[in-house]
């Protein structure tokens, strides 16, 4: 739970939305109105914050905050 909350805060900060409106099961592309290139920027923030390295291909098929949090957790 902790990972997904931190992740949503990072996303809220980068894309300037209210973190309280984000839910773990949200499709972050649709919710944040971002494309895959912008999602890669979010991945860079994630790497800095969690001190992990996530290859680009790990994002394939990942669309919800919860799924991305799971990817982060397997890498920590």
């Amino acid at each position: 739970m902790e990972t997904v909350n931190t992740l949503m805060q990072l996303a809220a900060k980068r894309f300037k939305v209210d973190a309280a409106t984000l839910r773990a099961e949200d499709d972050f592309f649709a919710k944040l109105g971002i494309d895959s290139l912008k999602a890669l920027d979010l991945l860079s923030d994630v790497e800095d914050k969690f001190d992990v390295e996530i290859p680009d291909y790990e994002l394939q098929g990942v669309v919800t905050f919860a799924a991305l949090a799971a990817v982060i957790d397997t890498r920590r």
Binding site: A30, K31, G33, S36, S44, P55, Y57
Partner: protein, 593 residues
């Protein structure tokens, strides 16, 4: 001029290369700022031989004695993102006499499994993270070689699937298997922009003919570096980022992350000379440079403009790389300072973008090809550069227009040494696509007096209006191209789907994704979606400039990234379906005729 006439297979050409250039660097792989691999041709040879030995253990009974591969096919599927192991595996597989099946790593796991089910490979080579997502439970006798599996991880698959590490030492001796020009070298699934994927069977002869043409027209030298960023499964990167550089002793560079900051950094650090792009990326690069130029103080801007004009005059007949580099150094430095050539294809290339780069001394080679017929059928030879066409047919290839209309627009048919053997398991489809050796491309175009081909659109995308006029959506999209604050657009006929919900009264609609658009669930107003009055005014102005029957009736504002194929073409049907499913949150706005 490169002569490959005495070579009978791709494997043989690669074999020669690893002997001829042995001390030169073949591959460099970087992950972010770290160089992970630097492989000489000598090392490539040793590692590919190890892969050959690993693969040979899986060859079906009867292979290679059964010369007709359809009787005992030995297929090796490669499902990997761009990296050195991709090319090592492909080289090893060619030496094993296998038919390789390059699969798109950007597809979803169920889509990848469906393609594997279609081609039934003996071996699948894939990355650990990809393998974990594949459900292979209904496969029998499949061997999976997994790269980069974490240490200590025990690899096991469902019953009937043997899972092993790619990095293991081979237990057998290396033994290469010779192939003939008429043998199938690869099965490449045509992404297409709709419909069922088709497995195009390309022969060794197809590849050798294409490599000979490209290597002769755009030779690379030992030490020159190609930066591989388009997926290697795609025909352009497979040819320009694997076969051609290897047969010329050049160096292929892979960067494991495609985040923009690392791409630019790699181009500088590794002095990249060649790369291939799709039109969408070319356009994005153009916009970035344009923005930087617009920020310059006026005196500096005039200087850049002046130097650009000098460069334009000096390169009127052909590119002059060294001169352009000296004249426009700061711009060239932004691309690493050594870039000589960019290949661009896979979808409709924006003429403005291509001309923009040529003026700056960064030539863009525009070509036209199909998965069904190698990488390029026609290509611009840069003597002189023309951004308005896809060039002339390459040596050995013939282009004809059939069923032309009074304006000279006809269906493009091609014949030549790069046309595939046929679609896998689809004799009827093959018979329909290839007639008397001529491949029906499904594209529409015109030929000018000098033999240059201009494309108008895909015949299946073509819309016939109620007035009987033909409209090409690509044409309309070009008219709305580059509107400020608009990220992407797609034109189509609304037909019976949303918003009208009726079969009659078909009208042209433009789907618009505004830049920094809002979010799908709070799109209560057009402004919320980033569709400002200024954007609408510009769209209206552009619309008015079109001939009446080409004008769009309205726009749909949409905030999701358009679905695209591996070569970044918009997938029109999936986009339409997505819109139909979300009609309540998209915004419809009429544009006056």
């Amino acid at each position: 001029m490169i002569d490959l006439s005495r070579i009978s297979s791709v494997g043989e050409a690669l074999d020669d290369a690893t002997i001829m250039y042995k001390s030169a660097t073949a591959l460099i792989e970087i992950d972010r700022n770290r160089e992970k691999e630097r492989i000489s041709y000598r090392d490539l040879r040793a590692d590919a031989q190890r892969v050959t030995a690993l693969l040979c253990a899986s060859a079906p009974v009867g292979f290679p004695a059964a010369r007709e591969q359809e009787e005992a096919p030995f297929r090796v599927a490669i499902l990997m993102s761009n990296q050195a192991k991709w090319l090592v595996t492909a080289t090893g597989a060619f030496w094993a006499g296998a038919t390789i099946v390059p699969l798109d790593y950007k597809l979803t796991a169920p889509e990848q499994v469906a393609l594997l089910r279609h081609c039934r490979p003996a071996v699948l080579v894939t990355e650990y993270s990809t393998w974990r997502k594949l459900d292979l439970s209904d496969f029998n006798n499949l061997r999976v070689l997994v790269t980069e599996a974490p240490e200590g991880e025990s690899l096991s698959g469902p019953a009937g699937i043997a899972v092993e590490r790619w990095e293991q030492t081979a237990q057998r001796a290396f033994a290469s298997v010779a192939r003939r020009r008429s043998d199938i070298a690869s099965i490449v699934y045509s992404s297409g922009t709709g419909g069922t994927p088709k497995g195009c069977q390309l022969t060794h002869g197809n590849y050798l003919a294409q490599a000979e043409v490209l290597a002769s027209m755009y030779p690379m030298e030992e030490g020159e570096r190609y930066f591989s960023i388009l997926p290697t499964n795609h025909a352009i990167d497979f040819m320009c980022g694997f076969i051609v550089p290897f047969i010329m002793g050049a160096n292929v560079v892979h960067q494991r992350t495609l985040r923009p900051q690392y791409i630019v950094d790699t181009m500088k650090r590794y002095e990249i000379t060649h790369m291939a792009l799709v039109p969408l990326i070319l356009k994005a690069l153009k916009e970035r440079i344009q923005e930087k130029l617009d920020e310059l103080p006026s005196w500096q801007r005039s200087m850049v403009d002046g130097l650009t004009r000098v460069n334009e005059l000096a390169t009127k007949r052909e590119p002059r790389h060294e001169l352009s580099r000296r004249l426009l150094k700061p711009i060239h430095d932004g691309f690493g300072g050594h870039l000589k050539l960019m290949f661009c294809g896979g979808a409709f290339v924006d003429r403005d973008a291509a001309e923009f780069f040529y003026r700056l001394g960064l030539p863009v080679v525009i070509g036209y090809g199909l998965t069904e017929a190698g990488t390029v059928l026609t290509v611009n030879d840069l003597k002189p550069f023309r951004g308005d066409t896809v060039g002339k047919p390459v040596r050995g290839t013939e282009v004809q227009l059939r069923n032309s209309n009074p304006e000279g627009v006809g269906e493009v048919w091609v014949r030549g040494p790069t046309v595939m053997a046929g679609y896998l398991h689809e004799p009827e489809l093959t018979a329909d696509a290839i007639q008397d050796g001529w491949l029906k491309t499904g594209d529409l175009g015109t030929l000018d007096a000098s033999g240059h081909l201009k494309l108008c659109g895909r015949s299946k995308n073509m819309i016939v209006t109620e007035g009987g006029k033909n409209v090409y959506p690509e044409d309309i999209e070009a008219a709305f191209d580059g509107v400020k604050n608009v990220e992407e657009i797609c034109a189509y006929a609304s037909s019976y789907i949303w918003p009208t919900g009726k079969m009659t009264g078909e009208s042209l609609v433009l789907v618009v994704r505004p830049k920094d658009g809002g979010r799908v669930d709070d799109a209560s107003s057009t402004v919320g979606l980033g569709l400002t009055d200024a954007v609408i005014a510009e769209l209206r102005a552009r619309n008015r400039r079109l001939t009446d029957y080409k004008r769009v009736a309205g726009i749909i504002a949409w905030s999701r990234e358009f679905p695209r194929t591996a070569s970044m073409k918009v997938k029109r049907d999936p986009l339409k379906a997505e819109l139909a499913a979300h009609e309540k949150v998209a915004i419809w706005k009429e544009l006056p005729q």
